[in-house]
Symmetry: none
Subunit: 204 residues, 4 copies
DNA sequence: GATGAATGAGTATTCATTCAT
DNA sequence: TATGAATGAATACTCATTCAT
């Protein structure tokens, strides 16, 4: 049973496969994976439900591809940031913050989906590989924080694992309320969050 | 169909109703509302599924009671904090942070549930009242921040609505990884988070 | 997931479970296992298809119970025959022939089902245990034939494994055309078949 | 929709049509008609499922051609045997037995298929014509037996219709366990079966 | 209060078949 | 001839809910 792979239509037409992935991601984010039916996806794509199976083996397979694509790209971007920021922990941290928030622009559905359904998904063997990739990202964050402390750029009276969790959680959850074209751009948010994280809320 | 209300078992036995609520909250938090079956709840309670309907009108009714109880108590505690902290915005903010994190001790399942399933629940008419109550809590936070700025306790070069979102999000998501009896207590986390929020990450 | 077991209705009413088994056996025999739908079974039982799952875990589980019951009883009857016939191979063989043909009376659907669907079923792990039981029956037949040859009751110029196959096949397939209440009883058939097997077709 | 008939490939290449028939017969025999999908057939042929419809009108049409070819040839062979054996019933019967068993060599899949799926197929209007042809074969067998009794070659104390059924059933079912190249050839089996049928199992 | 049989609408998935390219 | 995308009806199975006992 060979995995069904994308074959770009020769004319360069937008692919059905990609359309299904996009539609599915939106729906999964809106209603949750379990509550999104295969029929919902088909309808929104303009197909009958059976036709989806011409492109994907199962509902799970669709989800897997959505999440894998997102996580892989995130890792790529995070690695690029670390490579560019040399040995400047502050620049590195700013970079990670920016990458994370800007991921919301291209991958909002995947991010929401991951937040809402991860507690269930994490126990499904098929999605185990995402945990492993998540661990890679975690390690990038924590090593930047460690580095910053050792170079005395960051305070040494804070529990760095809690700092990491605090920042990470706040950033990802922003996908819930962020709406493009309203008040703040993602870069605005990155700047404000960085200011708060680096300098704190109190007047000196 | 009159709403079924709690009737304490005559002998003073631990209530079946409460047992069902606790079991349901756990299951909803573990697997998500949609993926938890009424049979799951019944099994874990030691009943058959039909029997649940002697205690609750529907699966929705169970969920409603779980969430309402949690939100109501949270409002009560937040209000108490504001009442006690007089006109000291820093103390007020510390209080709100502490209440929020400590809620994880008593209501972890409800918090997780709300995070995972809220995107779906928010659109169900039955749960509309929770949005209203959520707005009350939001207003308490934002007014504390405003107050702090006006009194020049907090910096005036930060977008306060973003500060509020940042802090709120980081706090609630802590329910995902917090585990009682490990490394940090909830008070530890509240202290560390407060330190970071007030003073920032950078060495002076 | 406890196997759902029969609970005889206290009043001694004919069981739904048994009714489902009987109806299913008939249908499987008529149309084959794959072509019988769960809806077919439900309809003939006077239920809706979902209701079957209150009594059985799956379509497979129904089939398994039908076949297991049949094979177990057949083994019991064959063993009884061997026990009774002492060291008289001719009597033993007559007994096995009679038991086999008479099984058609009580278990015609199961026999037909086994004949038609066995080539598919034999490869399903769930039904592996039936192969093992089949081997037990085979051994009873072949040991009777061996015994008969050693005691010089049976000819010694025949390949006994072929004799066994020949007889076995002819007996079981009789279930296809036998119809109760017509021309020959099962005992008639057993007698005629025995005559042919023991003495052959030719005039002396 | 004209019935699609064989068109030999111009170059004398082995025919696609025949390849599809062979592959289908194998699969139908292995898994049963209902459980064999058109996709299975296409895969094993090295085509995509849609392409089969250039050669056959439907799955039923494939099955029909397989069975018709087999039954027609069987009738031809049986008729040849009767023509050759003149008025010697014993030779005629031996001939029919041999033809039947030897058919296993060339048409095993068709024979298995017919055994497993006949109970379902017999009720499909499209396959009614096979019943008629089956009746022709039956009549050949029974007339040989009658002839043998009248000429006092066969015993007169046996129910001939039962003898016929017994022999027929045992012969056809041999297709289930016969494996070419193992222990017995089809002629061996024909000889042993004939010995048993004519002379019986008992030592004189 | 509790049981367990039954409902009926819904779920993901399969599959023979069609047809434009 | 062959492809591969699409159909639409069917399939086994699930599940919140009802209700007579």
């Amino acid at each position: 049973m060979a995995t069904k792979r994308a074959r770009r239509a020769p004319g360069g037409t937008a692919d059905r496969r990609q359309q299904i992935l996009d539609v599915s991601a939106e729906l999964f984010a809106e209603r949750g994976y379990a509550s999104t039916t295969v029929r919902n996806i088909a309808e929104r794509t303009g197909l009958l439900s059976g036709s989806l199976y011409h492109h994907f083996d199962s509902k799970d397979a669709i989800l897997d591809e959505i999440l894998t694509e997102f996580v892989d790209e995130l890792i790529r971007r995070d690695e690029a940031v670390l490579a560019e920021s040399g040995d400047d922990p502050r620049r590195a941290l700013e970079g990670l913050i920016s990458v994370t928030l800007n991921a919301i622009a291209d991958h909002r559905p995947a991010i929401l989906l991951l937040q809402n359904d991860w507690p269930v998904l994490r126990d499904v063997p098929r999605f185990k590989h995402l945990s492993d990739k998540g661990a890679i990202i975690d390690r990038m964050w924590t090593s930047v924080l460690e580095e910053g402390r050792q170079r005395k750029v960051f305070r040494d009276d804070l529990a760095l694992d809690l700092v990491w969790r605090f920042v990470r959680d706040a950033l990802w959850v922003a996908a819930r309320w962020y709406e493009p074209g309203r008040r703040y751009t993602l870069d605005d948010i990155a700047d404000e969050y960085s200011k708060l994280i680096f300098r704190g809320l109190l007047q000196k």
